[in-house]
Symmetry: none
Subunit: 324 residues, 2 copies
Amino acid sequence: MTAWEKALEAIREAGDVVLFLHRRPDGDSVGSNLAMALALLRMGKAVKIVSQDPVPPYLQGLPGADLIRAPQGEPETFSLALALDCADKERTGMALPWLEGAKRVVNVDHHSSNTLFGHINVVDPAASATGELVYRLLTDLEVPLDGAMAKNLYVAILTDTGSFSFSNTTPWAHRIAAHLLEMGVRPAEVAEEVFGSRSEAGLRLWGRAIGRLQREGEGRLVWSYLSQEDFQELGVDAAEGEGIAQELRRLEGVEGAFFFREEAPGLWRVSLRSRGLLNVAELASLFGGGGHPRAAGLTWQGTLEEGSRKLLAEALRLLAEVKS
Amino acid sequence: MTAWEKALEAIREAGDVVLFLHRRPDGDSVGSNLAMALALLRMGKAVKIVSQDPVPPYLQGLPGADLIRAPQGEPETFSLALALDCADKERTGMALPWLEGAKRVVNVDHHSSNTLFGHINVVDPAASATGELVYRLLTDLEVPLDGAMAKNLYVAILTDTGSFSFSNTTPWAHRIAAHLLEMGVRPAEVAEEVFGSRSEAGLRLWGRAIGRLQREGEGRLVWSYLSQEDFQELGVDAAEGEGIAQELRRLEGVEGAFFFREEAPGLWRVSLRSRGLLNVAELASLFGGGGHPRAAGLTWQGTLEEGSRKLLAEALRLLAEVKS
């Protein structure tokens, strides 16, 4: 019997099942778990979903979201723990005892880094999303899909493929999406709900940041800023400035994009983004920050003039090293 | 014989075919025409694509783009003019004599406002993109798809569905995309190529447009503009302003977004976008324009003040009718 068949059997046999959102749950985690939970309920089983962290606002409208509970009190014992989209068991966070207390653990995931922590492991890195695997499980379990399950699966695939645009997008992701649209999913409404709306204040901040955009190093570096004054004038929190560095990186010819936002007077939070040539994790570390090679951050205490001048100088130096 | 069958027959019989990009060509226009042109060449026919306007930079990398010519000199006579994605024959711009001089005109489109100007008209407003119709035509013509055709069809569908997120996205769009990925299309590379980079000038235009953003009707309408002066100062073509209305529509609470761009002194091209409640095709038609219920356009000759005032007044009137 394959792991897939064993997983199907374990699900069929279990009378009570516990499911888990991973820490800082995303669309694939919430969508996959809700679709599975609704299907298990339909099959007549007792189901709980436990989650250390709350569901983010943009996913709270998903059907069945009210089934999700914090892992409070004594862990209950279930005949089956079904972990979806968790690369390792620690991803369940404070819900881990609920997983470890179960008689059987089935681990269904698409991360290649999965540690195979289950008694049964169905790990398919070729799948675009765990939602794709859940769709196939439900098909084989012969659960009739309803609109609620369809919407959850659609959100799982939509978010993990960046609206079908990331390199992990498979023909299967599209075929499943086709079926889910036939089940009544409305793509524009879901996209609006999930990727949604921009606030006017956020847009005006962006307009100001563009107006101040500066380029250096023959255009290979771009930077801009928003000050405390900007946030106060537009009546928004400095957190609204998130994502601007990411947008600046999209400029033609840019290797590195830096965005300064003044979180408190003289205290600048700097986001660094790269297209790959410039290692911004290394750059950030020179200023006591850190992150990934393409996305990093640092905090600068002092004047914008000095901070930007030093950061750009180091960035140009690192870029020159790459080229030589 | 259905119009579909007649169209297939006309294509099969023609030895020489002329195709047309519509004015200000977009991804569906360029992708559909290139896919069809490559297929016709494969079928052994003589093919020309004529286009009044140049192919925008983000689409110039599409395979076969070198087949596109400006309609210069005496119009040549073709046995078949195949108009793809043109709602009316004037959309061919200065290439119109090439269409009118052909012995037969086949009109394939998905705009509900299509004027049925062909001898044979295949108009399917349920199709997400003309690229979807071209895919089906090529299937029925039994042309073996290659990677070049696949990429063109993918771009046609990708751009007209906003990466599979607009309300016009059909199960068919996804099924076709699944097949095109199997033919070798790389979704992340195409997304980067097509949506990827922003020009600095384009970004600065956007910054100015945001700075002038105005809201009416308790915020349900938003509008902005860019003048000839803006385009001249930033040294870019007015075509760079495309897409701004689409972005404005994403503002929280907005039902309708209008964007005016001055293409020549006193000549304003207006893009209208709606979230669904406001029928912008109807609105545009009041000013001699047209399009889809959620995406339409019109041309205004006169002052910005008068144009915006009249357009907003009619939009508020239509919105009030919807609510009552």
